[in-house]
């Protein structure tokens, strides 16, 4: 199942050139970019693993692209996303986050129903790797 999380996720996968341009935009806004990766794209899994430190003081997208290339080499079958963090007062949060790489075979999600007290039903999403 194609995972749709973050910005641009309903578009076809971005090319490297497009990624670099988005990063360029983020840097122009003064945001700090970082790379994260995971093998579990569950929507509630908000904490992906960091690929190195967030890249503060970056001036050009080439720096991030180098790291991205490196990350892809190490984790060819993981989800990789690029985050842009805005540190200005009032925001202090992610302003942009998009998936830049996904495994060839993406996991499925199972919907599990459980009966709980008083005829209530609990729904759970479960990642299924095939």
């Amino acid at each position: 199942m194609r995972i749709t999380q973050g910005t641009f996720s309903f578009l076809p996968d971005l090319t490297d050139e497009q990624i670099a341009k988005q990063v360029e935009y983020a840097l122009d806004q003064g945001w700090a970019v970082s790379i994260e990766h995971t093998d579990d794209p569950h929507p509630r899994n908000t904490y992906w693993e960091m690929w190195g430190m967030p890249m503060f003081d970056l001036k050009d997208a080439a720096g991030l692209m180098t790291e991205l290339k490196e990350c892809r080499k190490v984790f060819p079958d993981r989800y990789i996303k690029v985050n842009a963090f805005d540190s200005t007062l009032g925001f202090e949060t992610m302003r942009l986050s998009f998936i830049v790489d996904r495994p060839a075979r993406e996991p499925e999600f199972n919907l599990r129903r459980t009966d709980t007290s008083g005829r209530n039903i609990r729904y759970e999403l479960e990642t299924v790797r095939s």
Binding site: G52, D60, A62
Partner: protein, 299 residues
Amino acid sequence: MADTVDLKRMLDESHVSDVLDELDRELVGLKPVKTRIREIASLLVVEKAREALGVTSAPPSLHMCFTGNPGTGKTTVAMRMAEILHRLGHVRKGHLVAVTRDDLVGQYIGHTAPKTKEVLKKAMGGVLFIDEAYYLYRPENERDYGQEAIEILMQVMENQREDLVVIFAGYKSRMDRFFESNPGLSSRVAHHIDFPDYSDGELLQIADRMVDGLGLQLAEGARKALAEYLSIRRKQPNFANARSLRNALDRARLRQARRLIEAGEVDAASLTTIEEADIRASRVFDAAPAAKDKEKAAC
């Protein structure tokens, strides 16, 4: 597609001539350096023209090495270089990241690579200026992490030529030895530019600009005294060209300030004038008659 390209117009459009003229105007002397920068600028314009005609060629390697005695303007020119390369479209951002050994080499195993990469990432799109680069390589310690930094540098210099330009700087003899022991690095640095010492006349010109920049002026006698000062100071150890000059002027300012305070009442003219006595009071003049005197007359 057009068959001919107007190089002159391309040069004008990139506004490079402005930067080059500015360089000529603002930096005194440094003839070989200016010539080389002009050549590099021409090369990049010609390269662009080739591209316009559809002839593809690999981006030229523009890594440089600035050698010269202290105070000959290596850092100043590096700053300009970043701007020039930016105007010519060779680097995308045109910022300068100046580092020394400490910024590249780590303290323990596994610390160096991330540190060096961090710096390289910051410098991408601009110019990385490595001052006193020979400290990266310490032959007396075979476990030194400097070698690791050099290897990472070389890799990026080779593979990501279009992303950043690396400029090494240092004293001539030690840089030569550094390159001798790192032949791989030497062959990746295409431009070795030597910064000559300034002549006395050039130093005086620089002095005029420094004083002007401080909002001061030299009295007629003071200028002559300064010329004498420079010719004596040059023969003493640790002479650092423009830097020695700057220090001399700073000390003259101190003496001027003391003189003014002692005088009590001053007018605008005397507040902004450095007198001959301010310069003559330097210890350099005392040492002059007894030149054999071994004391390190640094002042």
